[in-house]
Symmetry: C2
Subunit: 356 residues, 2 copies
C-alpha cells in the first residue's frame, strides 16, 4: 500500500475549518483508492507569531522538504500588520522551497453562479501558470530620504533566464498534457516593461520551437483583464510573471464563482509542492461553521493528482461538481444552504459513491 | 468670445476617423455655447515614423506646450515593432509634458450592454486616478548577460514622494468636487511591494488628514479586479500607480461596455493636458467607416470640461447618453446599426437640440 507524508498548515482564521473538511475528503479518497496519507500538523500562522514573535523557524524549511506535499489553509491575521505573515510564511515557503510555478486552474463548475452574462462552464476552463519565485516578489528595492519631500522608493522586478525558462517550459509541458486547445498565451507588457518582458518574450518563443504542436499567442496584461470578462473561452493555458499572475488569477477566481471554489498549487516539480485555497483567512467567518470548504477540498484534489494519485484527485473534482451542480444554493459563506461540515460530508459521500 | 488652441494628433489606424467625428461634435458644441476652437493638426504616428524614422521631433514638445489642450486619436501601427511608437510618442508626451494624472471615468451609459450580470448604470460610475509619470513606466532597469543562460533582466518601479503626493492630492480634490460618495480608495500591493507602496500608503494617509470629509479605504490590486466584477458600486474614486492603473482601467473599460466608449485624460493641472479614446488604433477597421467614435467624442467632452467649458462638456456627455440609450444597437465596430459618421452626426444633433 502506498503511503504519503503530508505536512498540514491550517493557519489563520477559517483556515483550520476548511482544512478539516479537506482532510475528511482526502481520507475518504485514500480509503477508497487504497493508499495512506499521514498528516503532520504545523501551527505556523498569526496566533503563533503573536505569542512567540516567530513566523517560521529556520528548521521548518528543512523539515518540510521531507514531505510529499504541503497542505495549507490560510495565512493572515487581523492583529498582525499586513506583510509580516505573508512574507514571513507564505512567500518564504514559496521561495525557499523553490516552488517556481503557481498553478491556478480557472474553471466554472456546473451550478456555480458566474458573474458574467452568457458564460457557462463551456466558456470558462483555463489554467494560469504564474512564475512564483521572482519578479516584483523578489523583495528587492529600497528607499532614499525616507519621510522627506525628496523621498524615492524603488521596487525592482528581477527576472532570470533560468527562472523564466523553467516556468515557461512547465507551461508548455502542462499545455501539451492538458490536451485541450493546445494553445499557450504569454501575458506581459512588452511595450512598456521592455527589459523584463524582452527576456520573457525571447525565452517564450525560443522554448516554443520545441513544441511545434502548441499554438502560441501573446496578450498585454491590461488587455487580458478585458478578455477574461469578454472572451474567457479564448484561453487554454496562460503563462505570466509573478505580479501579473497574482492579479489575473484573482480576476480568474471571480469569474469562476469566487474565492469559495478557487484553489492553487505552488509547484516545485523536483521538490515539495504546496496546495492551498486562495481565498485568505476570512477572520470574520471564523468559528461559525459557515465558510465554504470547497476551495480547500479542490486544493486537496490537486495535491493528490500531484503526488500521483490521479484517479483519487479526479474523483474529488467530480464529487465537488456533484455538490455544486446539485446541492449548493451559493458559494458564499453563510449562503450555501449548508454548513461547512455538511458540505465536507456531502463531498466525502460522493467520493465514496460515484462510479469510476 | 473665448478662444482655445487645440493641438490635434489623429495618429494611426482608425484614429483619424474617430477624431474627425470628435471635432464635428466639438465644433457644434463651441458654436452653441459661444466659444472658438482653433485646431492645429500634427501628423505624429506610425506612417510618419515609417517614412522619416522620427517619432516625435524634439521641437514638438515645446510647440505643444503652447496649446490649451491636445486631442489625440490613437498611436499604434501594425508595421512598427511594439513599444517604439508607444514609448516614442504617447509615453514621451505624458512624461515630457508632465501629465502626472491619467484620469479614467468608468461609467456605464444607458442602453450600453454590460458584460456583468445584474449591473446597470446605477452600479457602475467611478473614476480611476492613475499616476502617469513614474512607477514601472520610468523605463528604468537593465539586462545583464543578455542571451546567455545567466541572463538577468531588471525592471524598476521608481516612485517619488513628490510624484506620488501630487497624484494623491489630485485624487482627493477630484473626489471632493465630484461629490458622489466622498470615498477615495488606494489600490496597491502593500503586502508585497513593501518599498513602493509603503511610500504610497504613508503619503495617502498623511494627505487624507487634510480631507476629513473624505472616507478613505485601501484595497490590494488583485482584490480590486474581483470587486470591479462583483461590486463595482463600492467605488467612487480610486487612486493607484501607473502599472496597476493601466491594468484596472482596461478592466474598467470592459465593464462600462468596452473600448467603444472609454475615454481618458492625461492631466497636467499646471500645464497642457491630452485627451484620448483609450481603445487603440484598431488597424483592421481602418477606412471602413464602421469604428465607434463615441470614445473619441467623450474624450472631447472631457477636454472641454478641462479647459473650463463645463456646460459644453456636460452637454456632449448628455448627447452621448441619448445616442447610446436610444439608438445604437451595440458599441462594437460594425454592429452599431450606424456608420462612424452617422454616429458623429447624431451626437452633434443632440448637442444642438437638448435643452439645457
Ligand atoms: C497573500 C499574498 C502575499 C499572495 C500573493 O500576492 O501572492 C496572494 O495574493 C496569492 O495570490 O497567493
Ligand atoms: C499603449 C500603452 C503604452 C498605454 C499604457 O500602457 O499606458 C495604454 O495601455 C494606456 O493605458 O494608455
Amino acid at each position: 500500500k502506498k503511503s504519503y507524508d503530508i505536512a498540514v498548515i491550517p493557519g489563520d482564521g477559517t483556515g483550520p475549518e476548511v482544512i478539516a473538511e479537506g482532510i475528511k475528503v482526502l481520507n475518504t479518497a485514500s480509503s477508497r483508492f487504497g493508499f495512506n496519507l499521514n498528516f503532520n500538523y504545523y501551527d505556523f500562522g498569526g496566533d503563533r507569531y503573536l505569542k512567540t514573535g516567530e513566523t517560521l523557524p529556520d528548521s521548518a524549511i528543512d523539515e518540510l522538504k521531507k514531505f510529499d506535499a504541503i497542505y495549507l489553509g490560510a495565512i493572515g491575521h487581523p492583529d498582525v500588520k499586513p506583510g509580516i505573515l505573508e512574507k514571513g510564511i507564505l512567500l518564504r515557503l514559496r521561495f525557499e522551497l523553490d516552488q517556481y510555478v503557481n498553478l491556478r486552474p480557472v474553471k466554472l463548475y456546473p451550478g456555480v453562479e458566474c458573474p458574467l452574462k452568457d458564460k457557462g462552464p463551456e466558456h470558462i476552463d483555463f489554467v494560469v501558470v504564474r512564475e512564483n519565485t521572482e519578479g516584483l516578489y523578489a523583495g528587492a528595492g529600497g528607499v532614499l530620504k525616507k519621510g522627506t519631500p525628496d523621498e524615492v522608493a524603488i521596487q525592482e522586478s528581477i527576472n532570470t533566464r533560468k527562472g523564466v525558462e523553467r516556468c515557461i517550459r512547465y507551461a508548455f509541458e502542462y499545455c501539451k498534457k492538458r490536451h485541450k486547445m493546445n494553445k499557450l498565451t504569454l501575458c506581459g507588457k512588452t511595450n512598456v516593461l521592455t527589459f523584463a518582458f524582452d527576456l520573457w518574450e525571447r525565452t517564450f518563443y525560443e522554448v516554443a520551437k520545441q513544441y511545434p504542436e502548441i499554438e502560441v499567442d501573446y496578450a498585454h496584461v491590461d488587455a487580458i483583464t478585458m478578455w477574461f470578462v469578454k472572451n474567457p473561452e479564448w484561453f487554454d493555458v496562460i503563462v505570466t510573471d509573478n505580479m501579473f499572475g497574482d492579479i489575473i488569477t484573482d480576476l480568474g477566481a471571480m469569474i469562476q464563482g469566487g474565492m469559495g471554489i478557487a484553489a492553487g498549487g505552488n509547484i516545485n516539480p523536483e521538490g515539495v509542492s504546496m496546495f492551498e485555497p486562495i481565498g485568505g483567512s476570512a477572520p470574520k467567518y471564523k468559528g461559525k461553521n459557515i465558510i465554504n470548504p470547497l476551495a480547500a477540498i479542490c486544493a486537496g484534489g490537486m495535491m493528490l493528482e500531484h503526488i500521483g494519485e490521479d484517479k483519487a484527485g479526479k474523483m474529488i473534482e467530480k464529487a465537488v461538481m456533484e455538490v455544486t451542480g446539485k446541492h449548493l444554493k451559493s458559494l458564499a459563506a453563510g449562503k450555501m444552504g449548508f454548513s461547512t461540515t455538511e458540505v465536507g460530508d456531502m463531498v466525502a459521500k460522493y467520493v465514496l459513491d460515484i462510479k469510476e
